[in-house]
Structure formats: structure tokens, C-alpha cells
């Protein structure tokens, strides 16, 4: 018997087989090629436009697609005059709403995807850092007390305050382990929720009505002023998060591993959290708290293209826009009055996730 030369790779290979203790806390689909991922991105981006136009046609009364396109063309200077009544409904009421709904959907979904990558937990959502509670508390404070800042700015400041508190409280021995970060988020979130509840308890009837809008969420107050701020800010925020896509993949392996692969986890996490929080606070400030989007849409995106954040983040943006625009259509059509959109997203969201889990996904341990 002669021993094999030391430099040769042995002929025996480890046997293929399922991992014995595989733990992957999320649903998986079969790997998808980059080309198919890119095609999906383009298709969903086109879908955003289609859904936007269609949702403009729907409302208290239906405006045919042709008329909608005519008004849009006239208003953007492509053609001349048009029916004046439709013009104001399409341009000033429905288009602002649709644009705002799309931007808020993209912002919430994108920040959800970013939080999930940063915290290495596919079940984390903007709520976990206490951002939503903080933003709601800031808005509530603006309702209760006369402050020189607008309700929106207060929501933003308190959202950032909440995330800063969470981030500072979670510091242990010079590091911020995920577990303490999430625990701190729960503590900070419940504190701000309690303060917000106190506002509701102490407020007058008029104040209470305004606070409730904030909790339910909606787009009926959309104006061109809101659109002018929220749409460009959302686009910039999502693009900046997209830029971190690859490094988020590396960060999702854990701090030590990320560092040994050349990615410094602390500054990266800080930037991603600040961006995601800004996007969330921006969305909350114009539409109130809209549940589920930040959790559900990134999940759907991940099932379609896999976990690579270079694709999950932009796909979350397009799918989030489509999802919230569609939910807003339902919110203003299924009842004579206006149904709060958060009720729609929750009622649609929960069964949708169940459907995806049961049918589209090959679960952990199952063959792919």
C-alpha cells in the first residue's frame, strides 16, 4: 500500500446530504439566476406604473384610463387642454394620493429589508427599534402641546430619538450584540407606546380624533407639498440603501465574520440604521403607522429572488410601492367612507404571508 502524494486532492469527497442541525429562520426558494432577478426588477418597476395609472382611474367615480392618460399628458405639457373637472380630480386628488402611497410603500419595505439584513433576522421590522412608537409619540406630542415644529418634523425627531436610545442602551462591553439591540428596542418602543397611550387618555375629543388618525394611517390628506418632499427623499433613501446591498450580505453573516471579510460592522450598521429610520419616520410622518409592509414585502421579495440584498432592496421598493398603492385603492373603494389603510394591509398581509409560506416556499429541511 502506497500512501497518496500529499499534494494531490484525495479522491474521496464528503458525502452530499442534508445538514443535520440546519437552522435557517426564514423561508427559502430555489436559487435564481442574476438575469432572472434583473428581469423581475424591470417587470415590477413597470408594474408600479401600471398599478399607479389603474389606481388613478378608481375612486368615488371611475375615470377611464384614456381620460387619465389625457389629463396626465396635458398637465405634463405634452398636449393642450382637457376636461377641467377630471383634470382636478386626477391631478390634485388621486395622483398625489397614488404617488404618496407608492413612496410610502417603497420606503417602508426598503427600510424593513435593510433592518432585517442589519440585524441578521428576517423577522425584524421597523417596529423593533421602537421607531414607529417613537414617531407616533412625537406626532402625538405635537397634537397635545403647542410646539413650533410641525407634526411631521416631530415624528421624525422622535423616531431618530427612539433609535438613538435603542442603539445606546444596547451597548455591552464596547459592542452591540443583536440580542441586546432588540431587547433595547422593545423597551424603548414600549416606553414611547405608553407615553402615546397617556396622550390618548389625557387628550380632549378633538385631540383624540387626530391621534387615532395617526395610529390607523391613511393617504386622504395627501397634497402636492407632501409629494414634493416624500417622493424625492424616498428615491434617494432607497438608492443609498441599495448601494449598501453587497456589504449587507456580508454583515448578515455576523460581526466577527464581516470584519474578517473586510467589512467594518459598526459604521455600516450605523449608516443603514440611520437611513432606514429616516425612511420609516418619513413614511409615518405623512401617512401614520401602516402595519405589515416592512415585514411582508421584503419576505415576498426574498422568496422571489433569494436573500441577496443587492436584489432584495430594489425589489422591496417596487413591490412595496405596488402593494401600498393597491391597498389604498381598496381603502377608498370597499366602503362609502374611508377605511384606514392599516386595517387593509393587516387583513391582506396576514393571509398573504400564510399563502406564501404554504405554497410558494420550500421550507427548511424540505427539498428545494
Amino acid at each position: 500500500m502506497t500512501p497518496p502524494a500529499p499534494s494531490s486532492i484525495p479522491a474521496t469527497r464528503p458525502t452530499a446530504g442534508r445538514g443535520d442541525e440546519t437552522r435557517c429562520a426564514c423561508v427559502v426558494s430555489a436559487p435564481v439566476s442574476n438575469r432572472r432577478r434583473a428581469v423581475l426588477l424591470v417587470v415590477t418597476a413597470a408594474l408600479v406604473l401600471v398599478v399607479a395609472v389603474v389606481s388613478i382611474t378608481v375612486g368615488a367615480y371611475v375615470i377611464p384610463v384614456g381620460d387619465v392618460l389625457k389629463v396626465l399628458a396635458a398637465k405634463t405639457g405634452l398636449t393642450d387642454s382637457t376636461n377641467s373637472l377630471n383634470a382636478s380630480v386626477v391631478w390634485d386628488m388621486r395622483l398625489t394620493r397614488v404617488l404618496l402611497a407608492g413612496a410610502v410603500g417603497a420606503a417602508l419595505a426598503c427600510s424593513g429589508a435593510a433592518y432585517q439584513g442589519t440585524f441578521r433576522n428576517p423577522l425584524v421590522e421597523p417596529f423593533i427599534l421602537g421607531v414607529s412608537a417613537g414617531a407616533a409619540c412625537g406626532a402625538g406630542l405635537a397634537v397635545m402641546v403647542d410646539v413650533p415644529l410641525s407634526m411631521q418634523v416631530m415624528a421624525f425627531i422622535f423616531g431618530m430619538l427612539a433609535v438613538w436610545l435603542t442603539y445606546t442602551l444596547s451597548r455591552v462591553r464596547g459592542e452591540r450584540p443583536t440580542v441586546t439591540l432588540i431587547l433595547a428596542g422593545v423597551v424603548v418602543g414600549s416606553f414611547f407606546s405608553a407615553v402615546f397611550s397617556l396622550f390618548q387618555y389625557a387628550g380632549t375629543d378633538e385631540q383624540l380624533r387626530r391621534l387615532v388618525f395617526w395610529v390607523m394611517g391613511g393617504f386622504y390628506r395627501a397634497t402636492w407639498n407632501d409629494v414634493a418632499v416624500v417622493v424625492p427623499a424616498t428615491v434617494i433613501g432607497c438608492l443609498l440603501l441599495w448601494r449598501f446591498g453587497w456589504r449587507l450580505n456580508v454583515l448578515s453573516l455576523g460581526d466577527d465574520e464581516a470584519r474578517s471579510l473586510g467589512v467594518d460592522p459598526e459604521p455600516l450598521r450605523r449608516w443603514v440604521i440611520v437611513l432606514a429610520t429616516a425612511l420609516t419616520a418619513l413614511a409615518v410622518s405623512v401617512s401614520g403607522i401602516i402595519a405589515w409592509v416592512g415585514l411582508l414585502v421584503p419576505h415576498a421579495a426574498r422568496m422571489m429572488v433569494g436573500p441577496d440584498h443587492r436584489f432584495v432592496i430594489p425589489l422591496s421598493a417596487t413591490l412595496g410601492a405596488v402593494f401600498v398603492m393597491a391597498c389604498d385603492v381598496l381603502a377608498r373603494t370597499i366602503h362609502t367612507g374611508e377605511v384606514p389603510i392599516s386595517i387593509i394591509t393587516s387583513i391582506l398581509g396576514a393571509p398573504y404571508l400564510v399563502y406564501l409560506l404554504r405554497t410558494r416556499a420550500t421550507h427548511l429541511g424540505a427539498s428545494s
Partner: protein, 263 residues
């Protein structure tokens, strides 16, 4: 590329973990880091990689690693963690591509040339066919090889491996050790942390024995360092051990020549 560690001490608060460690890691050398649990082997790795601040110097061909940014360190020293599963279901190719991160110039991640480099290293560890499988569905041995392939994609001259054969079956343990030995033969400096004295004797060129309170007890050729006395010092509960006498299941190519001739 010689990795030099001098006077490396580290303590968690008042609890000392490493005590004035000094070592040289030379190219082409497969060196074992051997010692009981809790003697600071993983801490030593984290200190060398610059994850922990320590009193001492770590230099690579005279260049102080502590002054470098993480991306610069990652182009020089690669670290192979124990096989694990992670939160997101990345493919094998994705996992290996992450090794290219310190070399990426652009914003949007790896290019085609990076993919080709990763396919080459996957072939090198015998996982070319598993390219598109999901990392967490592989067996433990295959996952360990993926992480080794990732370190190869990182293209460093120094490799630090953390118990690469822990929780693997016998066949996978031998395959991983042989793969690691080949990487050293190709001119890399390789440090492997392990709990198995026989593996050190079978595969390694050199061994560093780390004892209680993070002190380096011995540094030398395995057949001279791994003695009954050392094993008794490191593992008092074991009692007397025999270096020969009992029958041992071992691959033929790792046994000393006279034994394999007689066997």
C-alpha cells in the same frame, strides 16, 4: 509572508486570557494551535485579526497589522470560522463570493472575474457541482469546505482556521485536514486550532501548545511536543496516556513509514 506575534496579552476585565504569546507563522507551514477549552485559542485569533485590542504586536513581513483597516487586514489574513448556518439562505457561490469583498472596487459587488475565481476555488475543494445549492442545506463537512473555499477566494497568504473538524464525521475530518495540508504545501502560512492530539501528530508540521491562563507551553515539531507529559499537563482528568500500544484507526499515509510498512 511570515506572521509574527510578540508579547500578545489580553484580559477580559480582571480575568487574564492570553499571557505574553509569541509565535512565528512561516509560509508553507501547517501549524496547529493545541490546547484545552478556555485557554484562549479563539481569543488569540480575534487579537491577531485586530477584532480585540491587545497589548503586543502582530506583524506580517514587518508590517504592523494593528494599524490597518479591516479591509486591508482581510487582504492579508483570512479567517475560517467553524461551520455554521446563518439567518439567510445564501447559495454556495454567494458564500464564496463574499470572500472577494476586500478586493472589490465597485459599488454593486462582485464582477464576472470574481465569479470565475470563486468557481476555481470551489473546484479546488471539490465542491464545483454544489455551486448553486443552498449553503445551509449542505452537510456539515461540505459547509466547512465552503468556508475554506471562501478563505481561498479571499486570496490571502495567511490562513487562520478555528476547529475546522469539530462536529464532522471521520471521513470529513480526514478530507478537511488533507485539504488544509495541501493549502499549506502551496506556500500559505496556515494556523489550525484543534482539540485532537492525534490529528496534530498526523497532519501538522508544527504545534503550539496553549495551557492554562493563556500561556504558551510548547512550540515545536508535533512528535517532540505531544508527549505523555504534555497531555497530562493539559488534561489532568485524563490520567495516564499511552503514545503507542493501543490500536488506532488512522489513514495509512499519515503513519510513520516503519509502521505503515509493518501494517
Amino acid at each position: 509572508m511570515t506572521l509574527q506575534v510578540r508579547g500578545l496579552s489580553f484580559a477580559y476585565g480582571a480575568h487574564p486570557v492570553l499571557d505574553r504569546i509569541g509565535l512565528d507563522l512561516r509560509p508553507g507551514e501547517l501549524c496547529a494551535l493545541f490546547g484545552p477549552n478556555g485557554t484562549g485559542k479563539s481569543t488569540l485569533y480575534r487579537c491577531i485579526l485586530g477584532h480585540l485590542r491587545h497589548g503586543g504586536t502582530v506583524t506580517l513581513d514587518g508590517e504592523d497589522l494593528s494599524g490597518l483597516r479591516p479591509a486591508q487586514v482581510a487582504r492579508r489574513v483570512s479567517y475560517v470560522p467553524q461551520q455554521h448556518t446563518n439567518a439567510f439562505p445564501f447559495t454556495v457561490l454567494d458564500m464564496v463570493l463574499m470572500g472577494r469583498t476586500p478586493h472589490l472596487g465597485g459599488v454593486f459587488g462582485p464582477r464576472r472575474s470574481d465569479v470565475q475565481a470563486c468557481e476555481r476555488v470551489l473546484a479546488q475543494v471539490g465542491l464545483a457541482a454544489e455551486r448553486d445549492q443552498l449553503y445551509h442545506t449542505l452537510s456539515g463537512g461540505q459547509r466547512q469546505l465552503v468556508l475554506i473555499a471562501r478563505a481561498l477566494a479571499q486570496d490571502c497568504q495567511v490562513l487562520l482556521l478555528d476547529e475546522p473538524t469539530a462536529s464532522l464525521d471521520f471521513g470529513n475530518q480526514m478530507f478537511v485536514w488533507r485539504t488544509v495540508r495541501d493549502l499549506a504545501r502551496q506556500g500559505r502560512a496556515v494556523l489550525v486550532c484543534t482539540h485532537e492530539p492525534n490529528h496534530v501528530l498526523w497532519f501538522c508540521d508544527r504545534v503550539l501548545a496553549l495551557g492554562r491562563a493563556g500561556r504558551l507551553l510548547a512550540d515545536g515539531v508535533p512528535s517532540e511536543v505531544i508527549t505523555t507529559e504534555l497531555v497530562r499537563t493539559l488534561y489532568p482528568t485524563v490520567g495516564a496516556v499511552s503514545m503507542t500500544g493501543a490500536s488506532v484507526v488512522a489513514p495509512v499515509d499519515v503513519l510513520p513509514t516503519q509502521q505503515s510498512a509493518s501494517g
